[in-house]
Symmetry: C3
Subunit: 304 residues, 3 copies
């Protein structure tokens, strides 16, 4: 890793990504070998908005490496309430920890904050901006289940507002992938994202119906369509219903299809899929631990 801070998935080259995923594979294969690797290391958690799984997963990751957390706690109990700037807060907190994770509602805040600190800072999600460790765990899950090259992936749901989806799609341009985007017209990929993907020389196609493309997919990445995006509930129901899948939907899929979801889900994926071989979304969430362990290991100075 040539990076001190991880603020965006876009900054990561194919080489960077593979370094993290390779390390994550090693960790997953032999976690005991890493159990004391960073004994005494403290990870500062600065979550300016709630995020159960990102926070728990980073906590588990540093603890599985022998380290520990120092948690800022919920934002209403922080100095922010007294009008402190983010730049001041991170400069104080870096004195309490060996690395920082920052989650903040403002896009660009992680990049800004990283300029004020000397310890490694990881972006744990900055509003509509980036969430690079989600992208890394998505890539890891794809690689483990379907491989990252010669991959046909379908990404379905809210493609307009979904930050997760944009980062993943961009990161996949580092590999040999055919990307299919499936969404209602009103929630298509934004023009600028589409442009970025083309620029990277990526093969992408857009669809409004899953059935058109399902049989050819190695991976189906489902995201939630949020009620708030629609003017009224009836319109939401009508549209969202077409992008929900169940065991019957998947009869047309390859046996080896991997179904992913960043979670939490509401009803995009019916429960009858949970017990099938397709369901990979809980494994995907669990993969957050080895992937974040790998990233922390590299940033805190693990031997290569």
């Amino acid at each position: 890793m040539r990076h001190d801070h991880i603020t965006s998935a876009k900054q990561l080259s194919r080489e960077d990504i593979e370094a993290v995923l390779d390390r994550a594979s090693e960790i997953a294969a032999d976690p005991a070998a890493y159990a004391d690797r960073h004994e005494g290391a403290l990870l500062g958690l600065m979550f300016f908005e709630p995020s159960t799984r990102t926070k728990m997963s980073f906590s588990a990751a540093i603890k599985r490496l022998g380290g520990d957390i120092v948690d800022m706690g919920p934002v209403d109990s922080s100095s922010v309430q007294k009008g402190e700037s983010l730049a001041d807060t991170v400069r104080v907190v870096e004195g309490y920890a060996d690395a920082l994770v920052l989650r903040h509602p403002s896009e660009g805040s992680a990049q800004m904050a990283s300029e004020f600190v000397d310890v490694p800072l990881i972006n744990g999600g900055d509003g509509a901006g980036q969430h690079p460790t989600q992208t890394l765990l998505d890539l890891y899950t794809i690689r483990e289940n379907a491989g990252l090259d010669d991959l046909t992936i379908g990404i379905m749901g809210d493609l307009k507002y979904g930050r997760t989806v944009h980062s993943l799609a961009y990161a996949l341009t580092n590999f040999e992938t055919r990307q299919h985007f499936i969404s209602p017209e009103s929630l298509k990929l934004p023009r600028n994202v589409r442009y970025d993907l083309h620029e990277q020389g990526s093969s992408i196609k857009e669809h409004t119906e899953l059935a058109e493309i399902l049989p050819s997919l190695d991976v189906l990445y489902v995201t939630r369509i949020q009620k708030e995006r629609f003017p009224d509930e009836s319109e939401y129901r009508e549209v969202a219903g077409e992008y929900q899948i169940d065991a019957e939907t998947l009869e047309a899929a390859q046996d080896s299809l991997t179904v992913m979801h960043p979670l939490p889900r509401v009803d995009e994926i019916a429960h009858d899929i949970d017990e099938t071989e397709y369901a990979t979304y809980f494994e995907q969430a669990h993969n957050g631990v080895p992937v974040r362990m790998a990233l922390l290991d590299l940033l805190l100075g693990g031997e290569q």
Copy 2:
């Protein structure tokens, strides 16, 4: 322990209970011997409602065993806010930990949740339902102070709504005990609980006045009478006042009487009792640590 999950005190046989209490005694006698016993083990804390002492006590327990916690944090910062089901949440969180503690306001939630996870799950209280580790620490405290066989115990206060009391009474039917229940008419044991106790062949008696039975008691277990149970405050005051004890009340008791309370207390037990030999309620709270250590040790695979 033959159990993977601990969801209810009712599932515990006399043998199970004694295995936990014996281990707790060993731990209390030589805590240093257990300080590294579960190094690296992570306990996931899922508290969907606040509970200071249960949470701190489980935290202390796993840390005294050399392990650590991964805390979901307060419920308003969890994915539940985004409409995630409890089944999904536990399936995600089990990937971050080696065992789970679940506290949830809905009766039966721990049992339901346990069916979705592979790691051991402990019920940390499910609403009006069960709270088995409270029962175990109560039993441990009784055994340490008065013994569990040939015991005469009085249980006083709100016997109608008090979950703690029902579980304890039921668990005591595994031992040679004479149980006396002291409460106002309006807060007597529910018929179904009384029935269950009789079914177990237990000797139980009901009273409206403590004085009737106080001199014969080895243990007096006091619980709080909640204002909310009464139509108006004056009625509450009148009734509750009769079930409050002070040093003078206890002049009629045996010198060896053990006074317990699950805490927090309001004014059921006057402060002039705190410094007497009777007062065992703080010790009782502290016993939560060795008892939970014992339970975790058995569930995480301590040698028998």
Copy 3:
């Protein structure tokens, strides 16, 4: 240290203070030598009001000593909600930890609480009362940067309500210091504090303008002037503006001037000072870790 509990900076003699600062210096010089010093020790955190930096700094301190925390969590999730007295709460929590830190909005609460517990209790701030570890880290920062004897210090801002300032001024009377207090008339030192300082034989002077005294200062300790202290915002702006400093203000200062602030700052110190040699406020915040490590080490039984 002859003390079991640290409830007030006033209880600390020059000898006590130097014992803590000397230990802190040793720790800062060789942190690795202390990394396992208190392995297994648990510090109970009881924060009845939010305080990001005090809490994070104590967490980091005990963890850098090889120990861990048991956190009561935010007050709305505590038994206090159920009407439990502070005396009862601390008596329960002491069973979960080897030492306690108490932060509470009521002046005198730490002293009161300390009378109910056997484990060492440290006051982490009690409303308008004391905050002794802040005073110790202030003293440490002064000693490291300017020395504590033959010191000329200016303390500026809200001197009427500022608890931090009163404790620091009092503690400085143990050393050879000339103290200058700079504030608007309406926010001068309270008469009783001034009286206390005189009683201790301290040399103190009061000013309304920084310029009068700035060139002679070794240390300038700036505090925030709170809007809430003024009847209307325009009056606040006018007064507060005169007690804000920037790089230009400091042209009249000695090159070796040390500028301190307990943080969070709002606009008392302009950002153009941050990158100068004067700026010591982030270092000051970071010093909370070695100073609290030192205090914990002494209270938990470090060898002298």
